[in-house]
Symmetry: C2
Subunit: 802 residues, 2 copies
């Protein structure tokens, strides 16, 4: 293999970046992902694919080789040789050599390999023994189909005879009925199944399911194979027996595991290129397949589909572009993070019952892309509130949706998110009209204003406190698996108490900032309540250098230095800074303790040391593997809360340092194992306990981190934050970043900005179109106008803690 | 590979037969199975293993590589390269050659291979390049452990240096927590996990689960590996990267898929043999593992365990031994069928909520092995009847057991089985005391006699009929997936009507035979009801040459010549013969139609033609794959009903012919794909629609067939059936079987018998100890005594149909 750099960032045809990986073995779990509102696919660099579609609940069309359990998407997904994939076997008919592309299942070393993640497509560019191969996949704007393009070029000056065999996993579809055969009219392999069920009622539900999987080709195959086991034979997937013969034997699957394999025999003149187009997806019947064929097969259709999908993904463009001089940093913030944030906001992680807290936070991010969607989401969320003020566990997105998995467990925190996240929507839009929208309840047709809905949620939270004024945790707060601290009805959560205080404070701040006409008495009551909570937390939960995590049903304070595991949790510290519970002295103590106990090269761990055995008055979190998920990983959602809090505390250097550690990059890819196209939900923690695995990415791109990370960039680092009067300018530049420029789209106006640190001044200077701005707020920005903003800030000292 | 016969039957050390298969590729799905009351393992000839244990619900300790769904045991189990298995990699340190034993995952062709299924162990005997290898596995009487023995002998006259690497799949245990490491104190690899859950209540249930998997060795390993992915590396399971180094690198799994691999470096002198012992299973904690180690590791311990397990399986010996001259036929009936029947009766298919119909029929078979167990089972079954007479969907075998899967769907047939199957128990024991046992109900503490329980069940059946007197089918009868014929409450079942008539008749016959003191008025009522049902069936359901299958909710008669699929069903014909609904003329018509439309080389199909698309007033059966399970396979449970009915109709030749076709044998193994150690639940049908796959075994050894098949052998073919006065002698010899001898254990007496067909006589002659027996009933047989029975029967004509 020629010596290419392992990674690079290139520019794609759409002007956006493309992340390239030139080895299929160095980052074996590296993936990209594509989605639309109906489906999502995660594509691994070696050719494995994880895909699902919504009908409306998540379903498969390319299955595992056995009866797989339905579950929520898991971190650290495990691949194995029969994992669903999209492979292309390629036989050199002259030499007899067979390889498989992009890499699995044969794992033959290729002359050149490149896995390229673009905004709206995923491509492999490969060279091997005089052949140049391009494999590309994209989705469509709204249909259930993977569009594959395969091109092979003869780079030599002799004729080459090849056979190409796309192998698309269909897998174990159903114990009731599964089969597959070639359909000549469609020029497709069509696999058929019946979703297993036993109860009559399910028949009527299942009747509408898309139980077929099709693999369509634009070129009639020389031969085909639809029987996985028979295709593989004694040779195995790494050397399939069926490829030994000159022609595939056109074998169907009859209550056997289906697969879609076609053979294309082809002679390639010197320099000749041959292109193939394949479509793969689920369908209800042959008619639907014919429609997909009509719509997407053909050169023009392909171009049109690619363009419309590109346009769809391009809707994810957000309100900021930066230029820090660090290509990797800028690329992530300008391109990949908004893309990931758009995925969260636009399709809600392809869930039909997103957890309320996720739904509200994910849609906070959407305020930076398309605030109208945030508005709709927040209205939908409060419409599912009950009239007693309680927010639901999850927001049901369609009529038949049901609360599943973790949404069947009662969590106490769902009320805090809306007041907290609402401020971003208002900052971006100043749309106070939302607050007077009249909305009914889940259990009452009586309409109340949005403001009243929020107040009911806050009142509910204030009431859900014990004699000390601390918030009951029930079977969990933000931390789902902390489920046994308060399941008997007594245990309280430090974090939730502080989050309640912060929600109250934020709501009062909104009142001060925007003219939303809330009741003054309520305002006073909420300020008072916030203060009381902060006092109670200080009274009962400050232990030495930091805040404990809570008090269990039996009155045990936990998350302190007295324990051997779970001594310190990050969330109570971050939120004590946000809520105002921590004074400056406490902040320094906390930051020092955190730096000592929780910081790792990949960022801040959620707790330490990770639990290694069950603690019955804390719960399920202690049973998770040490360093994984909530049990002490670098759980980025918690890490970004800390970063956000550090910014509020003026700890700009530390905030930026941790923010930089969080970002996936080409530099840390060999540690994290992932490419810098999304922030993962966690990196392995337990840094001191299990150092070997620390820093590994979960490879899970579903995370509440995105909107907060983007918020930190926009409102804190760049300091370009909306307010009632306009755009408030207050960059929080770290010592390591002397200069930052970019474009900020704000309420329709385009502000080109340059931020510069200088030792010449002691007070920030703000110039808009060369005019000095007093008070640092840009008022009267006009939609459609472009502005030049120059900001000079005093040089930041190296360390603000000491 | 030397040319051995593909199959053979040998004699094992225990005197019983051993079935040998000498190729790992000719019957790739061939399996044997071992079980005890706590676990079961199905062992594939290539090294794959499917295993589960009861805690008390079924659980795994060797998992798939992904999150597998929990399900009932499926037919036609699908294997793939990462399927759980027990493999032994073997490296020749001198030549560098690596092979895997018994065959997977490397699939290297071996010099000699033999897969040997014994009564209480499964063994491979292998030779390759001067090494002789024996691999053996057995279970224990009652513990949760697989006992493996591995022996390697140097057959050459030079020193051989080898490394042996047992590779035992542990697989994807849990998304919450999974890890594995070598435990020096135990000399074991111990994998740890937490069964995933989200609700607090489940924590307390799960607390007692055996979440660890151990792999114990008697020999300290040179090195070890516990990390599946790392072990495999880029080489893949067929050429693991970790085996390239001289020593394994002692790698643990930390939230990664565990595996148990040990390396044993060993020098073998010429002729030297080296033995290893391995234990593999689930455990709650290290203490349990230590106890298992203490109990089973070591030469003496192993011998003791093997003996006690042999003794356990030997309890499955049944009441008959035959000698027909056909070794394969005799071996199956003398050894394998009782073994399978014992599995069903002793451990109830390792289910905790066996379907009531299965439970009663499986325990009918137990009457030929250990009638006391049948007695207990029947008492348990009626104790779960409700006082309105309805029998439950399933019999709950422990306090926490719940009705699962198909047992949540209402079926109408559960009441018919007890009166039908009870007669075998009485025939074997004459124990009429059972009938006066006083037993309470599921919903009432009021005790009623066993007789009364049966009458309540019969009364319930008589009442569950429509205006025509036909039985409502609800959401299924014996045929579970015939769930939409009557789900609206109107549809009726021909089969169930006939089964009700047969149950009534059988009960009245029992009354006539045994002195059970039932009410004469009830007797008359039941005889009348049976007759009325038979008349109604004839009036509404006889269509041309055979009985239809039923009438749907909308009044449509189905299972007739008018349809294009599902024209004829076997069950209504068989049971019309049993119930007396069919007269002699009808019987001949039916048999002729069946012979034409349903007979295949593997036996009689359940229906024909198989449905190829949904019929909404029939239901789920029509959605199953054609030729599979109830949709027109040779479903042996239905086939044996037909055979039993043919015997009642005096169709001895045809009955025997079909019975012979049903039996797995060395002769049909290449068609069925299975070894003759169990009768499978089905062979693929749809013989005319999909001939290529027809005849394939489902490889599923759970089937209601066993007890009826054995009943046919004992009571019909041999005609040695118990009655009130003693043993009634009435063999039903086919023309093709001139002679049959054997031993019949009956109520403690051992009857050595010879049955001979002769053209000399026209009336059967029966001699006991050379004394002529008038009336053909052996009375006064004494427990512990041996008798010589000689039976001469008139020659059977070639064909009794015409």
């Amino acid at each position: 293999m020629s010596k290419l750099p392992l990674f690079s960032i290139d520019t794609a045809v759409d002007g956006l970046s493309k992340i390239k990986l030139t080895s299929p073995t160095k980052l074996p779990n590296a993936t990209g992902f594509l989605w639309n509102r109906a489906m999502v696919m995660q594509v691994n660099c070696r050719g494995y694919v994880n895909s699902q579609f919504m009908q409306p609940e998540p379903a498969k069309y390319s299955y595992a080789p056995n009866m797989e359990a339905k579950s929520f998407i898991q971190p650290e997904h495990s691949y194995f040789s029969h994992h669903p994939g999209r492979f292309f076997y390629l036989k050199d008919e002259d030499s007899g050599e067979i390889i498989s592309l992009p890499y699995e299942p044969m794992r033959v070393q290729l002359d050149k390999f490149s896995f390229e993640l673009g905004n709206s497509d995923i491509t492999w560019s490969i060279e091997h023994r005089g052949l140049k191969i391009t494999i590309k996949v994209n989705l469509t704007e709204d249909d259930l189909v993977e569009c594959w393009f395969f091109s092979v070029t003869n780079l030599t000056d002799t004729v080459k005879n090849i056979s190409l065999y796309p192998y698309f996993s269909i897998g174990y579809m159903s114990w009731m009925n599964q089969s597959a055969c070639y359909n000549e009219a469609l020029n497709a392999i069509v696999a058929d199944s019946v979703t297993p069920y036993q109860k009559v009622a399910d028949y009527f539900t299942n009747k509408q399911l898309k139980d077929k999987t099709f693999f369509l080709s634009d070129t009639p195959p020389t031969a085909w194979h639809a029987n996985q086991k028979d295709f593989e034979g004694e040779g195995g997937l790494h050397q399939p027996s069926a490829l030994q013969a000159e022609l595939l034997e056109n074998v169907e699957a009859r209550y056997e595991t289906p697969v879609a394999v076609m053979q294309f025999q082809q002679s390639l003149m010197p320099s000749e290129q041959k292109n193939y187009q394949f479509l793969f997806g689920p369908a209800k019947d042959e008619l639907e397949i014919a429609e997909i064929k009509e719509k997407y097969l053909g050169h023009q259709q392909r171009n049109k589909a690619e363009q419309s999908y590109r346009d769809y993904i391009a809707q994810g463009k957000a309100c900021l572009t930066i230029n820090s001089g660090n290509v990797s940093f800028d690329d992530f913030f300008n391109h990949w993070l908004p893309r990931q944030m758009f995925y969260h906001g636009d399709v809600n992680r392809l869930s039909t019952d997103p957890q309320t807290r996720n739904y509200i936070q994910d849609n906070m991010g959407m305020a930076f892309i398309n605030p109208e969607r945030t508005r709709q989401a927040y209205i939908l969320a409060v419409s599912q509130q009950t009239i007693n003020g309680a927010m639901p566990e999850g927001v049901l997105l369609h009529a038949q949706a049901e609360l599943k998995y973790i949404n069947q467990v009662p969590h106490a925190d769902h009320g805090v998110w809306l007041p907290i996240c609402l401020s971003v929507y208002l900052n971006e839009t100043a749309d106070v009209s939302l607050l007077s929208e009249m909305i009914a309840f889940a259990d009452s047709a009586q309409k109340q204003s949005f403001t009243r809905h929020i107040e009911l949620a806050l009142d509910y939270l204030i009431n859900a406190t014990d004699h000390r004024g601390l918030s009951f945790i029930e079977q969990g707060d933000w931390c789902d698996p902390m489920n046994m601290v308060g399941y008997k009805g007594k245990g309280v959560s430090t974090w939730l108490s502080l989050a309640t205080a912060y929600a109250l404070t934020t709501w009062c701040d909104i009142y001060e900032e925007y003219d939303i006409g809330i009741n003054r008495q309520k305002y006073d009551e909420y300020r008072f309540a916030a203060k009381a909570i902060n006092n109670a937390v200080n009274e009962y939960l400050w232990h030495g250098q930091w805040f404990a995590r809570g008090i269990t049903d039996d009155g045990r304070v936990f998350g302190t230095d007295k324990e051997s595991e779970g001594k310190i949790f990050i969330n109570p510290q971050s939120w004590a800074m946000l809520s105002g519970a921590a004074n400056d002295h406490q902040k320094i103590e906390m930051i020092t303790a955190i730096t000592k106990q929780l910081i790792t090269p990949q960022g801040v761990m959620m707790l330490a040391p990770s639990y290694t055995s069950m603690v019955e008055d804390i719960g399920r979190i202690t049973q998770k593997h040490p360093g994984v998920s909530e049990n002490g990983s670098v759980y980025n959602h918690a890490a970004i809360f800390y970063i956000f809090a550090l910014y509020q505390a003026g700890q700009n250097n530390l905030a930026f340092e941790l923010l930089s550690k969080m970002l996936p990059s080409l530099e840390n890819a060999e540690v994290t194992g992932q490419l810098p196209i999304y922030v993962p939900n966690y990196y392995r923690g337990a840094y001191h306990q299990f150092p070997k695995k620390a820093g590994r990415s979960s490879h899970l791109f579903n995370t509440g981190t995105t909107s907060w990370l983007y918020r930190c960039l926009v409102e804190e680092l760049c300091g370009l934050k909306g307010c009632a009067r306009g755009l408030h300018v207050a960059p929080k530049m770290p010592a390591t970043l002397p200069y930052l420029s970019g474009q900020r789209l704000f309420r329709g106006a385009m502000v080109n900005f340059d931020i510069e640190q200088t030792s010449d001044i002691t007070v920030m200077e703000v110039l808009l179109d060369k005019q000095v701005i007093a008070g640092n707020v840009l008022t009267d920005l006009k939609t459609g106008q472009h502005y030049q903003l120059q900001v000079r800030v005093p040089m930041t000292s190296e360390d603000n803690v000491k």
